[in-house]
Amino acid sequence: MNCISVQTEPFDITAVQDELRAESPAIGALVSFVGLMRDINEGDAVSTMTLEHYPGMTEKALETIVAEANERWDLIGIRVIHRVGELKPQDPIVLVAVTSAHRGEAFQACEFIIDYLKSRAPFWKKENTPEGERWVDARHTDKEAEDRWSSHA
């Protein structure tokens, strides 16, 4: 089963993983990625962060990414949860969890989904530092991470 959620509330990593692995006794592998807010970015201290998104398009983008992962690999379940609004250091920002019969597919699908999410899903981070607010710039490495998957198509 696939579930996508964009929410201001914190999410429960455990509950999601427990639910996911209980879905089928055919599951041999669960791979999950949690993206966490760091207290340092580009060398500066960051006290809080605000995540803006494009409601409607965000969900569409995530559904497209999940559908593409399901086409490429033989998966059993997928969860994608992304927080928006105000976050503190060490808060989970995003969870991508994938189950499959064998581990290779779960690893690839999980990394594919987070790579695509990072360059396609309309979220924007604004950090609060001692020097004031600033929008986070897109990392060049995220585009490269996404481009890797094109050669598999």
């Binding site: 993206g35 494009y54 409607g56 995003v94 899903a121 309309p122 995220d142």
Partner: protein, 83 residues
């Protein structure tokens, strides 16, 4: 009539969250719409003069040649930084 949305740094720079615009014959795709907006001058010229803008038409990622027609929801925004 189309609706145009602006997000994140761009929204702050333009001090505009959204607007409605009557389509004229000169606007047929993202590139020509961006040209029209740039021609407003000032912060609009600055914002739409750079190379790194992203866009969407009806909530799907677009590119300069993506067509725009009456009733569409068009969005402009900086490169995304979620995850």
């Amino acid at each position: 009539m189309i609706e145009i949305l602006y997000f994140a740094r761009l929204r702050e720079q333009l001090e505009t969250e959204s607007e409605e615009l009557e389509l004229t014959s000169e606007v047929s795709d993202i590139a020509s719409l961006a040209n029209l907006l740039r021609s407003r001058g000032g912060v609009w010229e600055e914002a739409f003069g750079g190379p790194t803008m992203m866009s969407a038409v009806n909530q799907e990622v677009a590119n300069p040649t993506t067509a725009i027609k009456d009733g569409d929801e068009v969005a402009f925004f900086p490169p995304v930084t979620g995850g």
